[in-house]
Amino acid sequence: MTSPVVDTVNLVKIYQDGGVPVPAVRGVDLRVEPGEFVAVMGPSGSGKSTLVHMLGGLEARTSGEIWLDGRRVDTLSESAWALLRRQKIGFVFQFFNLVANMTVADNVELPALLAGASAREARERREHLLGELGLTARADAAPSQLAGGEQQRVALARALANTPSLLLADEPTGNLDSRNTRDVLRLLGQVHRDGQTVILVTHDARVAGLADRVVSLLDGQIVDDGAVGAARRRPRGTAGDVVELRG
């Protein structure tokens, strides 16, 4: 029996706004098995971004436990979290967040170099990833020269550079048009099929439909946690194939 990739126990986050406590996440128990694709849905302010930020250690939890790959991590220091992110967690953000001064190639190589890979290893991995994502030709371009969809694909390549055990995507399509959304979703589906565990935050039901399981948050609490049935998954798989054909 393998341990879950993510397991949270009564996770709580309370912000302080001028002395007034504002709860963002209120007692979330979430368990994600290896290879699962979980979509976290909810309206604005429901705490979904806060939740994934806590899962990636970008924000400290107020109370509760976070277990990652069977190890308790909520008690880690900021630096230990940083080391953990290098090895195990890939992030994709809504606004791509590529380092503006670095080329596409450098952006993708950065995590590998950070994790201690040699320059050659990092280059080979980058070439492989960019090849997979169809960006080989843009390796030397600056991020600002790329279209939004391309930038997000580069961000995805960067997030996957260290083959993380968990990919966290915070509204990865929130800033893209429908065509680029399709491209990015197709890629996400592809890495998921290759066994990648993905947690995706979205407020778009169509995007969430790609996942195995949809967790709905409202006011910081899980109001619905439904594994999507196999019957519903098949047509979506077909839709994915259609998208792939069109792409």
Binding site: R85, F91, L110, L114
Partner: protein
């Protein structure tokens, strides 16, 4: 260690993206280091030229004057002696030039320069075979007497015979100190010429120089020489005495330099802190991204330190090189030996420490960036202040009001911006104050106690004759007889100069800045240096001794005293005993305003048939001319620092407000109004900084210079504030440049198409 490669990539990419800014940072640091090194080198060399001369001439550490020529082989066997210069035969003579008779030592020298203690020819040429009456004159001697290459050098030997010689060259030497501190003056001639001028060997002496392995340890050689030569020795001198006589009063320069260098360093530190802080602020999102990728706080700190610290260190290295080069070419191409290691290390180490500290602060700040890249780094939302609302009500242009509000939304950067310009501007103003003070010295010498432009020594003329001749000149306003005697201070351990000029009834116009002028017998005024030395105050009575006779004086005032570190007692002739004042040693001549001292000097010489000795009084400003070079150099560096600050402020302001541009345009502001808003936002703190700096500098300048005057013994009361016109010009230039720097990027930003996107 694993992050080194990743960090190197990041740094490389960042530097490539902001080459100009990085270059400016390097230049600023290099400029400060260059200025510090140049000034320190000039200071070290200007105030102690001995070191350079000694090295260049490979001088001798010990000079022995003997009656007969000693055996150089025996001397070279003395402990510690490496080489021997000479012995050279030297004869005393009198040089008559321009109405003045000066003692001179004529020294024979071979036409081929010796390896040790070879005079350094600065003008003209060295002696040649067959120079029948050529002579090379020591340069300070020549300068004081106005001797030039090709000019006459008429010497009178002890036997009374006069020999017209010709100056063929001027040379520097470390054999003896500068004239007139060290007399007699020195001139080198071929042996044949010396033999003709002074044929009697008994009236000449032999001079031998010893170069030692260790200059610090002169005693064994000196003792050895005394034992060896015994009664032959007339006198001896060591390099320490020569050096001491070459040292000028370096305190004024030293303090000025420390002030400028220190404040320049502070200003540079501010500029770098500003630049790095601004850069970190603009990179907040990228830093957050790095953290989300797995950079720890410490690693972000290390990366920022490495990048910005390296720029600073590069600047220091470039500055070290430039400093050496600049110092080498600063003084009319004369190669100057490099700065000694101690100040060099202090400058490099001090600057490096300052750079690292000021980089560490913003780097630490950057390392604390939260790792959520989406968090926008926008300025805090401000409200229209009551001021702004009032301004709008008063119908001031909207662009001005909006810009003013923008300027101070971020308090700390706004304050840094103001200070970043205020500090360099203050230093520049103080520099202008020093300049004005020097100008004032030259324009109003009477305010620094030099009312008399000429000093006349009667020579062979009687006092009455001298007074008649000097008073007859139409440009001479007043003639004050004077005498100078050494007096022992109350504890009788050292003597100071008592200068009696004029009488109590008709005192010389000393520059009294405190108390009053002496008005009766037994009253005197003193320089600050003397007051400090004796620990007395105005109103005190002091008992001194003149040649065994007690002299009790009542100090009634303080004068500005540029000579002898201010350790001078000035009083009336009638306060001294007659034996010291009759006949007067000299006459101080106060000229009419606008009179040319040189013309008067020439007329007096002609009228007295060259019997009078007439010399010009040296203004302290002439000795301090090197300060002006320092001021100009530092002003350039300070301007560079101000520019760095301006560019940082301009970049930050644009970054903060670029996204407001769309809103402003949507609100209906014309492009011109948008530009005005941006320029006001950047320019207002700059203008404020310039004004604050100028005001602070103007109010501090006189006080600081007076403080310096006080510590140097000259006394307070010399400081001048730069003229209103100079200040206005400086302010206008600075404000103009500031607005221009703000205007150019603002225009570009206002014209460019604005993307309305979230950051």
């Amino acid at each position: 260690m694993s992050t080194v490669r990743a960090s190197a990539r990041w740094i490389r990419a960042d530097l490539r993206a902001r080459r100009a800014q990085a270059a400016l940072t390097v230049l600023t640091v290099a400029g400060i280091v260059t200025a510090l090194i140049t000034s320190a080198t000039l200071l070290e060399d200007g105030t102690n030229p001995w070191r350079g001369l000694f090295a260049q001439t490979s001088g001798a550490h010990v000079w022995i004057h003997t009656r007969d020529a000693p055996d150089p082989a025996a001397l070279s066997r003395l402990p510690g002696v490496v080489q021997v210069a000479g012995p050279y035969r030297t004869a005393p003579a009198t040089l008559a030039t321009g109405g003045k008779k000066s003692p001179v030592a004529l020294r024979e020298m071979p036409t081929r320069l010796p390896p040790v203690a070879a005079p350094l020819v600065r003008e003209g040429r060295w002696l040649r075979e067959g120079d029948a009456d050529g002579v090379v004159v020591e340069r300070s001697f020549a300068r004081t007497l106005g001797l030039e290459v090709g000019g006459p050098f008429t010497v009178t030997a002890l036997n009374g015979a006069t020999h017209p010689l010709i100056v063929v060259g001027l040379a520097d030497t470390a054999d003896q100190g500068f004239y007139p501190e060290w007399t007699p003056g020195l001139a080198w001639t071929p042996a044949s010429v010396l033999a003709r001028v002074e044929p009697a060997p008994g009236r000449s002496e032999a001079v031998t120089g010893l170069r030692l392995a260790d200059g610090e340890d002169t005693l064994p050689a000196v003792h050895g020489a005394v034992t060896l030569l015994d009664e032959q020795i007339q006198r001896m001198s060591t390099w320490r005495e020569v050096r001491a006589s070459m040292e000028l009063d370096n305190r004024l320069l030293g303090l000025l330099l420390a002030l400028f260098g220190g404040a320049g360093l502070v200003a540079a530190a501010l500029a770098i802190a500003n630049a790095v802080g601004g850069r970190v602020l603009t990179q907040t999102r990228d830093i957050a991204t790095l953290k989300s990728l797995g950079y720890t706080r410490g690693q972000v700190f290390a990366v920022l330190m490495a990048e910005h610290g390296a720029l600073g260190l590069l600047g220091i290295v470039i500055g070290l090189v430039c400093g050496q080069v600049a110092a080498a070419v600063a003084l009319d191409g004369v190669p100057i030996p490099p700065l000694s290691p101690a100040p060099l290390l202090a400058i490099a180490g001090g600057t490096a420490a300052v750079v690292l500290v000021v980089v560490a602060l913003p780097a630490w700040h950057g390392s604390r960036t939260p790792p959520i890249p989406a968090a926008p780094a926008s300025p805090p939302k401000g409200h229209l202040s009551r001021m702004a609302r009032l301004a709008l009500l008063a119908r001031l242009p909207h662009a001005l009001v909006l810009g003013t509000r923008d300027a101070f939304t971020r308090r700390v950067p706004a304050l840094l911006g103001v200070f970043g310009l205020a500090v360099p501007m203050m230093m520049i103003t103080i520099g202008l104050g020093c300049w004005a003070t020097l100008d004032d010295f030259l324009r109003h010498p009477e305010k620094v106690g030099q009312a008399a432009a000429l000093t006349v020594r009667p020579g062979e003329l009687s006092p009455g004759e001298t007074l008649r001749i000097t008073r007859a000149d139409p440009q001479v306003l007043a003639v004050y007889p004077g005498s100078e005697v050494p007096v022992l201070e109350p504890e009788q351990t050292r003597s100071v100069l008592a200068r009696a000029v004029g009488t109590s009834a008709q005192p010389y116009p000393f520059a009294v800045v405190e108390g009053r002028m002496f008005a009766g017998r037994g009253e005197a005024v003193a320089g600050q240096g003397l007051l400090d030395l004796l620990g007395v105050e105005i109103g005190d009575r002091v008992r001194m001794t003149v040649g065994g006779t007690p002299l009790i004086v009542h100090i009634v005032g303080r004068v500005v005293e540029p000579d002898q570190d201010g350790e001078v007692l000035s009083l009336g002739m009638d306060s001294l005993a007659a034996k010291d004042t009759v006949p007067p040693q000299f006459y101080s001549l106060v000229l009419r305003p606008g009179a040319d001292p040189d013309a008067v000097r020439a007329r007096l010489l002609a009228a007295s048939d060259e019997a009078l000795e007439v010399s010009r009084v040296v203004n302290p400003a002439e000795r301090l001319a090197v300060i002006r070079v320092v001021i100009v150099a530092l002003t350039v560096v300070l301007a560079l620092i101000g520019l760095t600050n301006l560019l940082t402020a301009s970049a930050l302001s644009l970054r903060d407000h670029a996204f407001d541009l769309a809103v402003l345009k949507a609100m209906g502001l014309t492009p011109r109004q948008v530009v005005a808003t941006l320029v006001t936002g950047t320019g207002l703190p700059a203008v404020l900084g310039v004004l604050v700096g100028t005001l602070a500098g103007a109010s501090l300048a006189a006080g600081l210079i007076d403080l310096q005057g006080r510590t140097s013994g000259m006394g307070a009361g010399i400081g001048r504030t730069p003229s209103a016109l100079t200040l206005a010009a400086a302010v206008l230039t600075a404000v103009g440049v500031a607005l221009l720097v703000a205007l150019l990027p603002a225009r570009r930003a206002a014209r460019s198409r604005i993307q309305v996107t979230v950051r």
